[in-house]
Each structure stands twice: as structure tokens, then as C-alpha cells.
Symmetry: C2
Subunit: 446 residues, 2 copies
């Protein structure tokens, strides 16, 4: 008899896992329960879908339900809400949301990919019909519909993290007046000060009003009341973070990590043998610190899913960890980080040194040149490269991954500074900005 | 008494070496002999200086003679031509080109950075006044002056290497009718076939006529006579390769490598103790094959110079080798390579597998997406990543260096495929194209 694999959650991690299982074990039965209507979509693209007048939500879908069923032979069940897991019975209990019927099914192996949910600030008015979170495709579609129908002229975004900043650009593209209200004293507080300054300058250049150290008190009658002032808001976006969806796992007796996400080993297996977890509901291991961390990003979720799926299907593959590589576009700037920030490095017991340089995107004599700011961090004790952050109009988004690859390899700053990187005048000075930063940092580590 | 360091050649490698020596040993005497008038310029930028109507040759100069002398305290002697080296006497013989006087001077340690010279095809007419090479800044200035004064309307470029292709774009930018005549059967013959196709298509899209398998017979009365036809040429560019300038070294009894360049060890020291060589006159070691190779590129020359200078100044630092990372801009395309090509890998005794993929520059749902073609090569025996080549309108120039960093580290394809790279929808799909290529290649290596 063929094995039955059940996957809870059909977005990035879940569908990656399901696809891998089916690829490795084509004769097995793979069932995916997804509580929503859509599967396998690129949630990170929603800010661009929203701002694009021709944007179609179907463009965000990587694999349609039909293709998953017909081409990949995955038994995808959308609008199916899982109510509980019994590890002893190896059984999943679920509700068919359309019919309302409750049922259960046995599994041989289980992958939990329940994702995360948005945290809402504990104030009045967050459930008003002009107040949105942006987490699921359904959220994105609703925001777009609201904008098309109601033609809002003003937006208040609560929170200045990745989503908040990306949506500031998105709303501005649509011609809205945009105000950000953030509780912390600055956006992206982990970044180097100079990079944060450029983020603030970018917001200013693009007419986004941003208030920090500002607590929202309530939302009422299209006004966001805060300690920084009261702001008109035809639409409000809550971008105040997410938490892992772990209720199912917790209720089933599966261990959680200190970070609140489902605890997993390097095979993405949970504390219960045969049950795997992947994506925004699961923790990761940090490659530099060996510490368990919660990094709910699409890149990580896809890798989690693939690895959980392969191990569930009895291949052996280990997750090599994360270094918190992340980036975003902010109007005409690219902003990126990888590895540890200075604060993280200090907290983790390193003896970090940070340098901050500005280099040119192109060589001497090339017409179009833009400054790239780079902060780079190394460890005085071991000489190792620990982290980098960058901002610039061009040449940041992929350049960060050069440093990420060096950090992932455990390179010292000095080693890295002599790497043979390709160069041509339109794209870089002859010493690439990352090598310039490494050379400067190397001098300080002596 | 302070030591005297003599450096022969004042461009990239020479001035890098001189600057390092002076930094490490500020009390030493550092003399640089440069036969030309200019030092420390970015020769790679000349195609862009030529095509830029506001281009000024001074923009190409990284360090002026005055700054080198006054700020760095380097005794720079331009228009000084070195005639010979006597290793036994530790003496350099030279001619002051302005006065015509011949003199000599002793050194304690010597760095040879004599660069390379252009190879001219052995046909009549290559010395006509409308026929140019592009090697020194002086060459660049002359070409620009010729264009400004003579207003040529047609250009023939002999050779379809990096310089030939970059100058095709440069001449086209200036409105010239451009024809390339190349002896080999295709441009950049080491690249993957599909990438070469896109190079050819790019030339076509931009109105550059290119003829391959074509031998030039002579140049006469502004006509380039070739086996592919006879082409009108108000200006002719010879871009048929370079050779290392090794006469001085050879005459002094310094060993040359099989590749014809000056043989050096990992400290950039030649066969004569205390004499170092750096830049386009010196060989490099290939990190993947441990074989000596000749890689005359600006990136390599600058590293050579730095390392030769440091070792000459009695620091110990070893050159970690090259992997032939290189790239160029061709109209609206970025073209790049690193590591071994399929042919090189076969010749070096690897058991190579190559995959060729096309991925998108951006995520699903992002408006502006362009295809990126990637060829990636791995070794079946060891699983190691050996090389990659790419072409695309965006996201190639820095992305190649992600792969270069992995290759430099000796990563396997499988390891690399799970690296934590940053991503945002405007810049990449959630699996970066290089990871997609690695995943596909990993499947083929099993």
C-alpha cells in the first residue's frame, strides 16, 4: 500500500514540501489542506500587485490548484480548515469550510506549514472595514478592491518594517497621501545608523510622512489617533508584525522553541517523529550562532518546505541554516542585509568591529554613478566576516548576496577581500564596493 | 638607511604596489618609472570615455601624478623608459624620454609591472593613421581626438573579444556604422552556445554587422579587405588581443611561464629573489586547477599589485588565485562568467556537467521582468561547482559574483543550492536564478 503524506498549509512551504514528496515518491498519496481559496502564491509580491493598475492576482500564483492536482498529482483541498492533530492516532481532523462538515483522515507522515498570522495593535478600531492587514492573497485582493472602489486619498500605515515600507511605496505609486506611524524610534532599527538615515531621507524625498516613537491610541471615523498626532486615513494598513501559527502543533503536544515557533531539528522534524514543520510556523537555525531563530521570510519558507518534504519522503537532507539575508525596494533605493547586525553580534558574544563606507556603483570615467553605502561587520577574535548592510540606487540587491555567500562559508574578512570577482566599468569600480569594505574592515581588525 | 623600492610601470598594478609599499614602509624610498605621461588610470573605462560627449580623460585617472607625489610621497617619474634590469647589480637602466638622457639607479627590491601590448594582425595597413589599438590612455585620447576632428561615419573593428564588443557599443553610441570582423567562428567562443546566441542577437538588434570565420587581408585607402568582404572604414580598431610585456624580465634572466607571462609564486615573487612581478605582465594561479594561467584583467592586476607591494615590503601575503571572473556590458545586456567553461573543465580532467536555464529577473507578479540565461557547470566526480556564465538585461553583473564567491570557496553545487540569499520581488524570484540553476544542476550530478 502506498504511503499517505498530509501537508497542512498550501502556500510556499506547504506546496514546496508536497511537490518534493510527490517527486521523490510518485506513488504516494499527498494531501494538502489549505484553509483559504488560493495555494502557492508569492505573497511578497502583493505590494506590487496592489500598485500596478494592470495587476491581476492570478499573476502571483506560482502553481494553480488545477495544475497541482492534474500535473503534479497532489490532492489539494482548498477551503479545508484543520481542527486538530492526533500524533498517537496519526490522524488529522478538519472541517470542509464550504459544506461545514467535519471529518478526519489518517496520515503516515505529516508536514505542518501553517504559516503565521498578523499581530494587530491592541487598540479600538482595528476591525473597521477600511483597516487591513496584508498577509494572505485574500488580504491583497481585498485591499486592491477597496482602493478601486473607494478611491482612498489618504493612507496611514502602522509599522515601519518591511511590509510597512514597501506598502508606503505602493500607496504612493497609486497617488495616495501616505503617513507612517511607528512605535519604535526609527525604521529598521537593526540597520547601521547611516543606512537608516538614507531610509529616512528616501521616505522624505518621496513625500512619505513618517512618525516614530509614536503609539497608536485608536482608529475611529477614518482618523488614526496617536501620540504623534491624529491622521486622516481613508485606508489604514496594520503592518505591526506577525506571529507563527502554532496552535495546532501546540495542542498536539509538539514542542515549541523559545522564539515561539515550532521547534525543529536540521531535518525539519519536530519533537514528534514523523511530523515535520516548515515555513513561517517553524524556527530556523542561525548558521553563525547555532542559535534557533525565527525568520519568517519567503526564501526560508521555500527551503524549509523542500527539506521537510524530502526528509518526510525518507531522503536525508539537512537545512544548512539561515543568516537572515533580507532585502527590500524603497522607491528608487535598494536596501539589503545579511548576517549579524552590530547589536546582534555583540549580544551573541562576538567582538565585533563595524565599518561604514560609501563607494561608487561604477568605475571612474563611467557616466552614471551612484553612491552605495555599505556597513560591514567582522569579528576581532576570529577575523570572520559577520554581517553587512547596504543601501543604494543600484547594485545592492544582488551584491548583498556576494557577502552572504562569503558569510555562509565562514570566510574571514581578509580572505574575502582578495576574492576574484568580475568587474566592468558600468557595474562596479575595479575593486568592488564589497571588497573595498572588506579591505577597510580588514585594516581595523588587526 | 632607508630601503629603495623601484617599480617599473605606473598603471594599475604598479601604482597599487607602490602605494602599498609606502603605506607599510612610510620611510622607504619608492620610485615608479612610467614610460607614458599618465599613471593610475582606469583603462577599462576607455570605451565609455570615448562614447561620452562630455568625456574627459582626467575622469579616468584614479590618482594624479601630483597626488601620488605630494600626498603619497611616491617618487613618480613619468616619461621614463626602462631599458634594462641587472639583478646581480640590483640596478635599473632607464632613459628620460624628454631629455633623451640615459641613467641608472640601484634598488633594494624591484616590482615589475610592465603590463601588456596589443597584438596587431600581420597584414598591411595596420599603421595607417586611421587605424588604432586601444590599450593605453594615450590610445584612448587619440581615438577620441580622431573622432572629434575627423567625424568618421564608419568603423571596422577587428576582433570580437571584450574590447571589440565594448567598442562596438561605443562607436554605435556615437552614431557610427559598425562592422566587426572576427577570425574565429563566433564571439566569446568559450561561452555557452545559448549565451553566444544572445550575444549575436544583441549585436543584430543594435545594428552591428558582424562577420565570423573572417580573415583580414589588408587595410588600404579606408577599406578593410577580408575573406568576408571589403568594408569601408573611416576608422579601424584592432582588438585582436594582447601579449604580456616581458622583454625586460626575460633579458634580465627572469623565468617566464608556459603562458608567456612572467612566472611568479603565490607571493608574486619571480625566479629572482627580491624581484616581484604584477599585473598584465605576470601570470596567475587558477584556484580550481592549480595551473598557471594568464589573466590580464584590471581586477587581477590591482590584486597582484597590492600583494607584490606588500611582499616586497616584507609583509607576507599570498595571492589566493583567480577563477577568471569577467564581465562586460553589451548595449542593453550584461554578460558575465566565472570559473571554468565546459571546454576548460573537460581539458582539465574534470567530469563536467553543464545545465542551461532561463529564469526571470523578478518574482511572479512584479511588472518588470526580464529573462536571465544561466549556464552552470559542476563536476560529477566531486559534486563541485566549477563555473557559470550569464546574460540578461538586468541582474547579471553582480549575480555572477555570488557564484564566483561559492566557487572560490570550493562549494559543491548541492551546498550552494541551499544558501540563504536575500530576495525581494523586484530583484529576483524567491529562488534566485543562481539557486535555480544550482538545483537543476544538482539533479543532473546525481
Amino acid at each position: 500500500m502506498s504511503e499517505r503524506f498530509v501537508v497542512i498549509g498550501g502556500i510556499a512551504a506547504g506546496m514546496s514540501a508536497a511537490s518534493r514528496i510527490k517527486k521523490v515518491k510518485p506513488d504516494s498519496e499527498v494531501i494538502v489542506f489549505e484553509k483559504g481559496e488560493y495555494i502557492s502564491y508569492g505573497a511578497c509580491s502583493m505590494p506590487y500587485y496592489i500598485s500596478n493598475p494592470e495587476g491581476d492576482y492570478r499573476d502571483l500564483i506560482v502553481l494553480s490548484v488545477d495544475d497541482a492536482r492534474e500535473k503534479r498529482k497532489i490532492d489539494v483541498r482548498t477551503n479545508h480548515f484543520v481542527l486538530g492533530i492526533s500524533p498517537t492516532e496519526k490522524r488529522v481532523f478538519y472541517r470542509e469550510l464550504i459544506s461545514g462538515k467535519e471529518k478526519s483522515i489518517n496520515y503516515d507522515r505529516l508536514v505542518i506549514a501553517t504559516g503565521a498570522f498578523p499581530v494587530k495593535p491592541p487598540v479600538g478600531g482595528v476591525d473597521e472595514d477600511y483597516v487591513f492587514s496584508l498577509r494572505t492573497l485574500d488580504d491583497g485582493i481585498k485591499i486592491k478592491e477597496f482602493i478601486n472602489e473607494k478611491k482612498p486619498r489618504s493612507a496611514v500605515i502602522i509599522g515601519a518594517g518591511y511590509i510597512g515600507l514597501e506598502m508606503a511605496e505602493s500607496f504612493k505609486e497609486l497617488g495616495l497621501d501616505v503617513t507612517i506611524v511607528e512605535m519604535l524610534e526609527k525604521p529598521m532599527p537593526d540597520y547601521n545608523e547611516k543606512i537608516i538615515s538614507t531610509i529616512l531621507q528616501t521616505l522624505k524625498e518621496n513625500g512619505v510622512k513618517a512618525f516614530f516613537n509614536a503609539r497608536v491610541e485608536r482608529i475611529e471615523d477614518n482618523i488614526v489617533y496617536s501620540t504623534a498626532g491624529n491622521f486622516r486615513a481613508d485606508i489604514v494598513l496594520l503592518a505591526t508584525g506577525i506571529k507563527p501559527s502554532v496552535k495546532l502543533a501546540k495542542d498536539a503536544g509538539i514542542e515549541l522553541g523559545e522564539n515561539g515557533a515550532i521547534a525543529v531539528d536540521s531535518k525539519m522534524e519536530t519533537s514528534v517523529s514523523g511530523i515535520y514543520a516548515a515555513g513561517d510556523c517553524a524556527e530556523s537555525i542561525h548558521r553563525l550562532t547555532n542559535r534557533k531563530v525565527y525568520v519568517p521570510l519567503g526564501t526560508v519558507a521555500n527551503k524549509h518546505g523542500r527539506i521537510a518534504g524530502l526528509n518526510a519522503a525518507r531522503e536525508t537532507i539537512r537545512f544548512p541554516g539561515v543568516i537572515k539575508s533580507a532585502e527590500f525596494k524603497l522607491f528608487d533605493r535598494e536596501v539589503a542585509r545579511c548576517g549579524l547586525t552590530l547589536r546582534e553580534a555583540m549580544e551573541e558574544g562576538f567582538d565585533p568591529v563595524e565599518v561604514s563606507i560609501t563607494a561608487s556603483s561604477s568605475a571612474h570615467g563611467y557616466r552614471h554613478r551612484y553612491p552605495i553605502q555599505i556597513a560591514m561587520i567582522g569579528d576581532r577574535r576570529t577575523g570572520k566576516l559577520l554581517g553587512a548592510q547596504m543601501i543604494g540606487k543600484v547594485g545592492v540587491a544582488h551584491r548583498i548576496n556576494i557577502v552572504a555567500t562569503a558569510i555562509f562559508n565562514g570566510n574571514t574578512v581578509k580572505e574575502f577581500s582578495m576574492f576574484d570577482l568580475a568587474y566592468a566599468p558600468p557595474f562596479s569600480p575595479v575593486w568592488d564596493p564589497v571588497l573595498i569594505a572588506a579591505n577597510v574592515l580588514s585594516g581595523k581588525l588587526k
